[in-house]
């Protein structure tokens, strides 16, 4: 078995026609992990060519790029990178300005702890229970939403919004006084749930203010323009005055 991520024939052809410095992201619009990488690239003002990947029906070309069979996959400087947190840490080290990681060791820990909180705990308790049940299952033709899971996700998101509110009562941004990868990660997850109207913006004014602030950033525009066929976003989704 060959596990090497490498460009397929089709890619090599395209590669000849396009700028080799071009960054390309294989993604799915409502994947919080892809959105995290898209926001990080945009905050660092790196232009990227987005290629939508139906990762649940992986093509041999896609599996060649990432043996884990997941999105996001980033092609940059002739490297093929996977795993969103590892990609974002790489982008931070390779393109340190503007920075999404503080210099202080304790704050860096807090950023990484919160990234894991959203990518792991929030993802398991909320994103997978609401977004994956309501949207992904239908797109992937994997059956109908499990109402018990949806109910559980709808309950748990309240706890997480309260946790965000508690953090933001003490800090301007999630990990401290500057915007970091923790805010990017949290906003990436929450924006996916906002796309399907699953965030109660009346629950906590501080959380709403924080989201309004990050949503207004130029880096967020690409996310607000997303359209998933069969799932039109609600009017407030792209509205900066929601």
């Amino acid at each position: 078995m060959n596990f090497a991520p490498r460009r397929g024939i089709e890619d090599q052809t395209l590669h000849k026609k396009t700028d080799p410095r071009m960054i390309r992201l294989y993604h799915f619009p409502l994947s919080p992990f892809c959105r995290k990488v898209r926001l990080t690239l945009a905050e660092k003002r790196l232009e990227v060519e987005l290629i939508e990947e139906r990762y649940w029906e992986p093509s041999p070309d896609f599996l060649r790029r990432n043996p884990a069979g997941k999105v996001p996959v980033l092609r940059i400087e002739n490297k093929v990178l996977s795993e969103s947190q590892a990609i974002c840490e790489y982008l931070e080290e390779a393109y340190p300005n503007p920075s999404l990681m503080p210099r202080d060791i304790d704050m860096r820990f807090e950023v990484r702890r919160l990234c894991a909180w959203f990518d792991d705990k929030f993802h398991a308790e909320v994103t997978s229970k609401l977004l994956y049940e309501r949207v992904n299952k239908k797109i992937m033709a994997h059956g109908y939403p499990d109402s018990k899971a949806v109910k559980s996700g709808a309950g748990r998101i309240k706890y997480h919004l309260d946790y965000l509110g508690w953090l933001l009562d003490q800090r301007r941004w999630l990990a401290g006084d500057v915007m970091t990868l923790a805010d990017v990660t949290a906003a990436a997850h929450i924006s996916c749930l906002d796309y399907i109207s699953d965030v109660d913006w009346n629950r906590n004014a501080t959380v709403k203010d924080w989201y309004a602030k990050i949503k207004s950033r130029p880096s967020f525009r690409t996310l607000l323009a997303d359209q998933v066929p069969g799932f039109p976003p609600p009017a407030h989704y792209a509205d900066l005055d929601f």
Copy 2:
């Protein structure tokens, strides 16, 4: 609701009696994420007091320390840290020697990608299907192993051993020519499965050599001495000539 991780009364009392510089890890012996932190601490020659935590019956004290209700939780320099990858990155930055992270940006990416591979993919496809079904369910009194899950885990571990073998055909250690957090993470997961005899050491001689090398390190001794009541390890588990 108060989400602040803080020391409980019992901890504060103990704190007065013990050296405040003492590092304390709340852990569970067969948790791969705790083992990853234990190995990292030991590689950096940091002494730690281990406190076993039955995290599935969380005490108010434990939830005070980590609102996520998970192990590992590390108390160090009056800080309370959770999330294994964030903890290990913190330890690397606070105690850089001996190092478990290379300096080269591309290699750092590869280390983090492999950590995520094991903590995420291997954990979901193998650890949770074999260890959690066979051991954790019984300890937590959560019913009987799901034979379909066990069968799936037993099938998938072969793929992962092949992937390790493929990596090790090109490199001395998993991410390159030096031992890194990637090896620590992989060995943390695999050692838990070896404790329940779920690793077929005849499958790949290169993988077996790599594991023998890491198992012989002084940092591994604490793991080899682990005993979980009701689940005695097989004879080969602690044998360096397995």
